[in-house]
Symmetry: C2
């Protein structure tokens, strides 16, 4: 049908990051409905969970809607360098092939990832100065400095001929972030004065009252705490929190301890920060092997692995399996981090191993050693006071966080608040914002080395195998369809007694089905095998009959 | 070898509950080393975790050491009725066949479990009055009332000719537990004055400073909170916390709401409490279907499912899949419970579904709606002041809790503190307590309907399948060992491309191994298949070759 009145619209389309804390992927489109130009803000991953998605390392958004019109995608803009904002750039870039824009520290880390993926000859990340501006087709973007738990977080002021959108990325209000720029409150206030159509905003801490607190307070507290410790000290936390690394290194120096970085991502982050002009006063770090010779009270290890990741430094130390770092009675580990939900058991197990060897554990549960990088309710309220948007679009959260965020926005007199879902397209202008379309959305699994759509059901299938194993029966028939060999039963992951019961049932089925055609027989065997497993065990495993013809 | 000087000893042997919060199982032995008589204190389960032990519903201790000498086992004594203290009685009783002792409420619940297991004709639970005493061979046990998050928790004073042990079970100090007996401080002080060899004590909250708080304060707070709510209210929590059920029911009545119990275990616990003389003033509860007709502000549901259990009431309500209970915009759910570690994601997912429908969520994170049933550090200190044992034996905790508990005991001037491990036997008297033996210990999985030793590795095998699926190849040979049919490849849980690559590799291997004997060929196929999967996918699945001979 011809459109007799094609007309420019500004639309918002999240393809990730709604309904989850991670996998941030937001698109903004401008133009008439049949010819929109797109920019993408952030392109991140979500880490897999063994319980619900076994064998999936990472999840990323299904972006087929944009990939199919990639000639209209003007660029990917990264607000900051956390994995849940940049981790999917390298794997998804081949289906977009667009330019990438980021401030220097973020650009450095993205470039490293493109290098590793063998893509650096094909795409060059365009560096935007801190506080800079870029124009992509109808979009003009201002990078406004905010604060978060990483260097160079940016709020984007996205200007279009139909109005301005403020996209926060991840943020908090830290009046004293210790490293990098403070929140540019003047710029945010000025932006609000322009009149903002919509605020697309971080919901992570929308259930948490108060404020997230300042890195400067953590610096005071950690410095005092490290001063009370006598043996070796290991501090673990998120390597990307460069201000925290700086805090710990300075605390070490204040108490006469030398710092060793333990774990590849610690080294990578410190290098990236230095190469982009930060950490000028960072103490010279020693090698793991060098500090091993120092007396215990002269040593501080900055370790990866605060989440109990099995291959990271701290887990290996806890297993007494690290080539250079050992901790023992009299030593202490400070967890300068929060527990990411889902990691409780892995962290607890690692802590048990450390405790069993007499290592003291100091965590955010009983010491002030961490602040969140996301805005709590008072900070959200401040942002809404600065920006005064017509519409609140809470993203970057699970549904309960987004709903609480929307409720808060309404309480703060924001005229409209809508909780978007991935794949929902909202027209922001002209007119009153509304949901206008739903496009294909979903998740892609990084499964081994392959990208697999969630809809293929592989992880679900494996989860079922985790629950009840896999039952396989072989059936060999001759060219006339007669059974030509004894059946073999494999009950992988099930008790022997179950396998035996199944074999009996299969033999009985074969005996009773003489002359039946092989397809029928195979189906009867499958059912009988599954039933026998259920009778013997109380579980119904996935059951496959493999037919061979001789 | 003859023992020339047989001599009575008092020994302590935990077979469960050390290194874990759950699966409590402690044995005390008395007599000469070659002829000890045993009592068992508690016999509980630990619930499985899908991530690490997929398909395992419950874990229980491996008690073969006692089962092999069951004629010397005088009885099982249950301190209280939580699953982690009584849940393994029915499944393990057949290998012990000894009497069972418990106070009335606990006895009622154990009897229900024995009934369900078809054992009630074989064993009758012997009821001990609250505050009562029993004698079993050389052991005389006093049941001393303490407080916890269930009715009738008991500390056992275990008297033997060689001295007294105090075994706490689970406890806290609640001066006003609202239901049942308060802590019998006088009895504990008197026990301490007798001189106690060892205190075997709950470590769950040994990392938590302060005190756990009183149920009476929760009653005040919950009553006020429920008064602020306008729509339907659902309160979820642990059904076994009968005082909390009473608190909620009274709060409902105070605000003109009728109570419906939703979920089988709510009904079971209320019945058990009433039948043993409690809850005399509990409001008459309505049926789920009856309250459905009342106005929203007249309704309060007491629901199972606070931990996100998928088949419990609240999960079904969240899925909008409950036959009689629906919640919507304007309604509220109060989580009057803590999050048991490992359940964070399941609870969060359930809360997201409720939030998506506009239901308000009120949790212990931002409202005072729960107190723990376990002693925090100040309460532990009080107990050590009362009992003044010569030895602290921290049990019922993970290693980090037990180590912190032992450290606290030493700070409190307890002369000796030892963290036992399951299977370690300690001589408590005569002489200075010491580790004297290690006996077989471990875990048994309830896997489907079968009890399977952890060492059989089924869950581990299935976990590996969860990660990388299962690769099966069929090989059909004739009586001369020649390949007689095309191989079939099944790559369950893996991408199709992997299956295809494996088939190619298998065909190549067969072509290259003409004339090789079937065993060799099968092994070569297995290796080639696994390698091909790894090359195509980056994972190495368990690989089986099923050989049939025609």
């Amino acid at each position: 049908m011809d459109r007799f009145s094609p007309k420019d619209e500004l639309v918002f389309l999240p393809l990730g990051g709604s309904g989850e804390i991670g996998m941030n992927f937001n698109a903004y489109g401008f133009g008439p409905p049949d010819d929109r130009q797109w920019i993408i803000v952030d392109c991140g991953v979500l880490f897999g969970r063994e319980g619900s998605l076994p064998g999936v390392d990472m999840l990323m958004p299904d972006i087929r809607f944009l990939a199919e019109q990639r000639e209209n995608v003007l660029g990917i803009i990264a607000t900051h360098a956390h994995e849940d904002h940049i981790g999917a750039i390298a794997p998804l870039w081949p289906s977009l092939r667009c330019p990438i824009y980021a401030t220097p520290f973020t650009a450095r880390l993205i470039t490293g990832k493109l290098d590793e993926a063998g893509l650096s000859s094909k795409v060059h990340v365009k560096e935007v100065p801190v506080g800079g501006q870029i124009t992509l087709g109808p979009f003009t973007l201002d990078f406004i400095s905010i604060t978060h738990s990483i260097l160079e977080p940016n709020l984007l002021a996205i200007r279009t001929p139909l109005g301005v959108v403020a996209h926060t990325g991840d943020w908090k209000i830290d009046p004293n972030p210790m490293l990098g720029e403070a929140t540019d409150a003047a710029a945010l206030e000025a932006l609000g004065n322009e009149g903002v159509l919509a605020l697309v905003c971080d919901s992570t801490n929308a259930l948490v009252p108060g404020s997230s607190g300042s890195e400067s307070k953590v610096r005071e507290s950690l410095t005092a705490l490290i001063g009370t410790l006598k043996g070796r000290v290991a501090v673990t936390g998120f390597a990307s929190n460069v201000a925290r690394l700086d805090t710990v290194a300075r605390a070490a120096r204040a108490h006469g301890r030398r710092v060793a970085l333990v774990g590849r991502s610690m080294q990578k982050m410190v290098s990236a920060a230095r190469e982009t002009g930060y950490l000028k006063d960072f103490p010279t770090v020693l090698d793991e092997t060098e500090v091993a010779d120092l007396p215990a009270h002269k040593v501080l290890y900055l370790c990866t692995g605060s989440q109990g990741e099995p291959r990271a430094a701290l887990a290996r130390i806890a297993d007494n399996n690290h080539p250079h770092v050992q901790l023992a009675q009299g030593d202490a580990v400070i967890f300068s981090s929060r527990v990411i939900p889902g990691n409780e058991l892995a962290i607890g197990e690692m802590q048990n191993k450390l405790a069993a060897r007499g290592v003291e554990l100091l965590t955010a549960e009983d010491h002030f050693v961490h602040v969140s990088g996301h805005p709590c309710r008072d900070e959200l309220a401040q942002m809404y006071r600065w920006i005064r948007p017509k519409l609140a679009l809470p993203v970057h959260g699970e549904m309960r966080h987004q709903m609480a965020h929307a409720r808060l926005a309404r309480e703060l007199q924001v005229p409209q608040a809508m909780v978007p879902e991935n794949g929902q397209m909202f027209r922001l202008a002209p007119g009153r914002p509304e949901l206008i379309d739903e496009v294909p959305a979903g998740r892609i699994h990084l499964d081994g080395r392959l990208l697999v759509p969630e809809g293929d059901g592989l992880a679900k299938d494996r989860r079922a195998m985790g629950f009840a194993g896999l039952l396989v029966v072989t059936l060999v028939v001759d060219h006339k369809g007669r059974v030509a060999a004894d059946p073999v039963v494999l009950g992988e992951g099930m008790p022997e007694a179950v396998e035996e019961a199944v074999l009996k049932a299969v033999e009985g089925t074969i005996a009773r089905n003489k002359g039946s055609d092989p397809d029928n027989l195979a189906e009867n065997i499958r059912r009988a095998a599954r039933r026998a497993a259920h009778d013997a065990w109380g579980k119904k495993p996935i059951t496959r009959v493999l037919v061979s013809e001789v």
